[in-house]
Amino acid sequence: MRPILLQGHTRSLTQIKYNREGDLLFSAAKDHVVNVWFSHNGERLGTYNGHVGAVWTVDVNSASKLLLSGSADNTAKLWDVRTGKCLHTWEFHTAVKRVAFSEDDTMALAVTEQQMGYQGAVAILKIDSVLEAGEQDEPFVISPEPTKAMVAAWGYLNKYIIIGHKDGMISQYDWKTGEKLTSKHPHSDVITDLQMSPDRTYFATSSKDKSAQLFESNTLNPLKKYVTDCPLNSASITPIQDFIIVGGGQDAMQVTTTSMRQGKFECRFWHKILEEEVGRVKGHFGPINTIAVHPDGKSFSSGGEDGYIRVHHFDEDYFKFTYPEFQHIGA
């Protein structure tokens, strides 16, 4: 396959996200601007200008009308996807590290950083009331314990939110009361990414402890574990084939001290069920910060510390691949 290289950002990527149909790809980077691309040919549709700090996170609602972004300028912004106009700005005390729309798009969560004496928190933003009334009262805030939240996502039917912590813990919170429902401590280092399966019944986490794991949403029971040899920044679940794509590499600050080979800047494909590595995709010059899979499973993209987004459309034989042991089932 020939990857499409997107060079719209001047600094490293922080998060990329497909919309529900997968025709648009949103990318956030440290260069303050959110970009949107057509995923089939890599054409840039537009940019969302307005942040004055590194943009850490981006999410789009299911109708692809509204875009939410969180930035190091201590704000989260709501954008009109089509025109690039900023509709609303929420101000926080600290940087916004992760945003996510709820399943029905009426709410969103915003994970804020622990900085300058302020506690890290998860704020629940009411999208609907903002669009109708404009201003609104203070968002409801959950304070994750014992360590700060790094990533978070909504459970199915907005039942709860799942938070990935700095010390490798994952926990389930009731977003109405702010109570902790359950928690587990499966990772030994920072959780860097948390991506839900399409039906939100399970999710994948990646961690700096060099492993990615799969959990059941309701119970947080571990399902699978994928152990690699480098710190991971992102893990994504693929439809069609039962794979998990993980990516990472050594820390950005150590990149200059080693060669590209040793850096392990590859997207690795792991078999979701057999917990076995099946392939790798090379290309980035730096650690991979974020991976997203097209909802139809026919392509995936990765964003790296090198400032590039690489959009890969799978070749024919990717879809034909079956395990030798499974061939009799498929035939």
Binding site: L6, V33, F38, V281
Partner: protein
């Protein structure tokens, strides 16, 4: 590539008339559907240049979601405002061809029984890994990928015990084999860019006719198993086949099958010759 064909920017009226007589462009379509367009244009310096472009058009029909189709008509905004439709070369480019080779690493293939059987076979013999000196096969060594591939050749040979030199499984004794590169105090050397290239499932096809294409090769060999790579040697000038090609399969058995059945096969009124690619193990063919 622009080729300058006239030097002086201004010349006599006769030349100008001559220029006008030049066809604005020539278009030739060859049998592969590749259209060659030759244009003569005057560049910024006033020099006339010849521009040759080769275009191949393929029609691909794709079904898209209605909402997505609607979004394709959206006007560009932000920094892209006012720009014409289509990918902009300053932000979008196409990268080098890369391959995603999917294969089972074989961790789960080996059942307990298999291990038992191999253990019985090797009863009385000591298994020694040449990389880490542990008691497993070199091919199973956990450090296989991290240590240098200097003895990759031997690893491949060890997969075919019939032909390989008996270095892999040897009675433990004083004559323990150490690769020359690791003898004495020499440390493993650094990475080689070729370390991942595995040629053990690669075959060389020779005596191909001039107008063979990659897809022909694919067509011919794909019945034997999944192909990971096809390299067809082409003439630099004419872009015609030079008469030989390399075909890499995902696994060696498939390559063996292809070799056995296609060597001596009549193709395009020529007799194909198929053999193992030299770089891996010429002795095994």
């Amino acid at each position: 590539m622009p080729v300058e064909i006239t030097g002086a920017p201004k010349s006599s009226w006769a030349d100008e008339v001559g220029e006008e007589l030049d066809p604005p462009y020539e278009a030739v379509t060859d049998e592969n559907g590749v259209k060659t367009v030759i244009e003569y244009i005057v560049n910024d310096d006033g020099k006339k240049v010849k521009v040759t472009r080769k275009i191949k058009k393929t029609l691909i029909t794709e079904r898209v979601n209605k909402a997505a189709a609607e979004r394709k008509k959206w006007a560009k905004f932000g920094e892209e405002q006012g720009k014409k439709p289509g990918p902009d070369l300053s932000t979008t480019s196409v990268g080098e061809q890369i391959f995603l080779k999917l294969s089972s690493t074989g961790k789960s293939v080996e059942t307990v029984e298999d291990i038992e059987i191999t253990k019985k076979k090797l009863l009385g013999k000591k298994i020694l890994c040449r990389i880490c000196k542990g008691d497993h096969f070199t091919t199973k060594c956990p450090y296989k990928d991290t240590l240098p591939p200097l003895d990759e050749l031997h690893i491949q040979e060890s997969k075919e015990p019939s032909t390989a030199e008996p270095v892999q499984v040897e009675a433990q004794g004083s004559g323990k084999y150490v690769p020359p590169s690791l003898r004495g105090d020499r440390k493993p050397t650094g990475d080689s860019p070729y370390k991942e290239r595995r040629d053990d499932a690669t075959i060389r096809v020779t005596n191909l006719s001039e107008d063979t294409t990659e897809s022909d090769i694919h067509e011919l060999f794909r019945h034997f198993g999944s192909i990971s790579r096809v390299y067809l040697a082409r003439d630099h000038q004419t872009n015609m086949c030079k008469g030989f090609a390399f075909v890499s399969f995902q696994n060696r058995d498939d390559a063996g099958k292809a070799l056995a059945s296609l060597n001596g096969y009549g193709y395009d009124n020529l007799i194909l010759r198929v053999e193992w690619a030299k770089s891996s193990s010429s002795s095994s063919s």
